[in-house]
Amino acid sequence: MQTYYSDLLVIGAGLAGERVAVEAAQEGFDVICLSIVPARRSHSSAAQGGMQAALGNCAKGEGDNVDVHFGDTVRGSDWGCDQEVARLFADAAPIEMRRLAHWGVPWNRVVPGKSFYFKGGEKFEKEEKEEKRGLITARSFGGTAKWRTCYTSDGTGHAVMCTMDNRCAELGINVFDRKEAISLIHDGDKCTGAVVRCLRTGELEVYLSKATSICTGGFGRIYKATTNAVICDGGGHIIAHDTGVVPIGNPEAIQFHPTGIVPTDILVTEGCRGDGGTLLDVNEERFMNIYEPEKAELASRDVVSRWMTHHMREGKGVKSAYGEHLWLDIRHLGDKHISTKLREVDEICHHFLGVDPRTQLIPVRPTQHYTMAGVRTNKDGAVYGLKGLFSAGEAACWDMHGFNRLGGNSLAETVVAGGIIGTKIVEFLKGYETDFKTAVVAEAVRKEQDRIEKLRSGANGKENVYKVREEMQDALMEGCFVFRNDAGLNKCIETLQGTLDKARKVGLVSDGLGANHELAAALKIEGQVKLGLCIAKAALERTESRGSHNREDYTARDDKNWLNRTLAYWREGADMPELQYEEATPGYEIPPGDRGYGGGSIIEADKAEIEAKMFKK
């Protein structure tokens, strides 16, 4: 068996993983990065919108600063975030964007002079100043007070990912692709690496390290409808959770987006609705104006997703071979607008649907979009429960997003958190010595070999992994999607318990040799169902509506009882998660208030208690 040693093992080579790796390599540490796909194919490269940092260079960003960005982030999180972390983030973001410019990102820059922009289908004028010429510019994004979203044309994630991966190549970091971590090597106390399946040969390999960092992105793929890449399947969360000592933070916090196209759930931009697009039902009638007379289609992401789901439940959805959906109508915007302002939407319709949005309707449905839930870390990125284990990016619950992520904040989080946590890992590595216990390593490998052997031989049973996966995805779509209520969640839990039982009885149909996909799916199915159960159980317990977590039977945000974070543990041999709670934030710079979008009432927290926890500046 191949064994590799390094100071730092980074599992995941998206933006977060590579940023962490760069920080440690710059300090002279030996780093290995693993990824299921070549690093540049990581999901980070799919982000087109941009990343937030309060540079305040462009006209509509004037007066922006890190305090305003901090405030937007806290409000966006619906007061579920750790304010210390949000502060670290907002303060470091501008520096990190400039650093990226230094490394090679071709940010769009300020062009002095007058120009037009659109808002809600209306045309406005702005003027950029000569003195700002050539500095990094920004565009507008939902939920922010100022234009703060740095971008490179329509490919921000792609461009930043290229630059980061180039930086890794320059530093000589070993980035190994087609390697999938399938378990952590640990003794219940500290982590010393991972057991990895090579996706070229199917062989198992051992990676030993002083520090390990999980940067595996989100787990949208446990839902049937998701905007996420097919590799965003929770592998990193599962191996951490499986240790029994690492909790998943806020599993109930999952973000949904109103307009994924059917069947493949590729995202079409909010801009469609922003510019005047409408949503239609099976009778080709508008409905958002009935539910939200004022804002209609322009209500926030979660609100629109909710009404769409509601409307489909009322029997107004369009039936298709891929399940029910609704229509997005942008025909009335006209050829000129569609071929210039919504070019990307036009291309998606053409490439994936064969639809001309000038004359035809676009099939859409709400989809899972972002995982605020994640491997719980402290503000240094150190994972609860295991020494030497860290996590960053979408995989982590570092918790600057709380219960709702602000658009543009997650891509920025990958590099900002990657930098900060990378520095903390360097501090950890300096002077740290560890010993690799051969018995622990051998046992970890044996366990995986045994698991694979049983799946291949069908010793556990003959359940089909793809059918089990479908059952899990359906249960989550049904009971744990944009709407949650007591009856639905209970039913979802009941179904998933049955699914868990089946997941434990999966047997392969194929031989499982080489780069076999069925085996990869089978190795993680039990962990995925467990993640699903964590979401459902945490959502059932949380009897309030906060951010993306929306209870039909508890519509108020309840700061009196629920200003906290869920920690879901899965103890060895258990059949259900164990939930614990901790305070959302160690203190407040901004006391809980109105989040400024989506409406809803608030049950207020005890004023004196909050007052006592205000940060003294």
């Binding site: 796909v37 194919r41 410019a101 190549a169 087609r178």
Partner: protein, 245 residues
């Protein structure tokens, strides 16, 4: 509307000692808005879980799913079955090492290319966290981005006659990569430095200019222009080199 589609798919698993390369036929009912992403996943989930192929973003932005579809290298995820005849032949990309069935190792190929072309900004400036960013004209930024749009799918290399004949040929994607740094004012390399990398038959002088590459690039990169641009630039550098000696 439903057609019955017939897929002829290349099968070979190098990790299975009993496996021999062959074509296998699958039959599938076409559904509305079906793409090869949907079709292949259905084949794997319903008919043969041993089928090996790659998808990642399934949205035409990551480059994972390139394969030869009815004779032409293209992205499977953005290929709709309605645009194809009832008989669909799928082969893995040539040039790259085969992993199994339709999956090839583009990752190793491109990593090697980063090292050969030294695919990063070469500068002696250090980053100052307290200073403003260095200014750049927006036009220049957009020009760089135009060349950085490559998703490393490998289609251009697979379609290139020279690359198929000689495995040391850098290929259009690599030459385009060099061009990206040539136009970037932050990179302090000189034409002579670039000449060291691409001024030979493995590089720009090996290209026969037949442009199979640009025709198949799913991102419509201006490969033809870039190859011409570099050939002129390197030609001039070559002449200067001769006179230096």
């Amino acid at each position: 509307m439903s057609r019955q589609l017939e897929f002829d798919i290349f099968r070979y698993n190098p990790q299975d000692k009993g496996s021999v390369p062959h074509m296998q036929t699958f039959v599938l009912d076409e559904t509305e808005n079906m793409t090869l992403f949907i079709a292949l996943n259905r084949l794997r989930e319903e008919q043969d879980p041993g089928l090996i192929f790659d998808f990642c973003c399934r949205a035409g932005i990551c480059g994972a799913c390139a394969m030869v579809v009815n004779g032409k290298p293209r992205l499977a995820c953005q290929t709709k079955t309605v645009d194809l005849p009832e008989r669909i032949t799928l082969l893995p990309l040539p040039v790259y090492q085969l992993i199994g069935d339709l999956s090839v190792d583009t990752g190793s190929w491109f990593r090697e290319m980063y090292q050969t072309t030294e695919s990063w900004i070469h500068t002696n400036k250090t980053f100052d966290p307290n200073a403003l960013e260095e200014r750049m004209e927006n036009e220049v930024a957009e020009q760089i981005y135009e060349l950085e749009r490559c998703i490393e799918c490998g289609c251009c290399v697979a379609a290139c006659g020279t690359a198929r004949l000689r495995d040391d040929f850098l290929g259009a994607a690599s030459l385009n990569r060099v061009a990206r740094f040539v136009v970037d004012p932050r990179d302090q390399r000189t034409d002579r430095d670039y000449f060291e990398i691409i001024g030979n038959d493995e590089g720009i002088f090996g290209c026969m200019g037949l442009l199979g590459c640009e025709d198949v690039c799913p991102k419509s990169l201006p490969l033809q222009n870039q190859l011409g641009f570099l050939r002129r630039k390197m030609g001039i550098t070559a002449i200067k080199e001769i006179f230096r000696k």
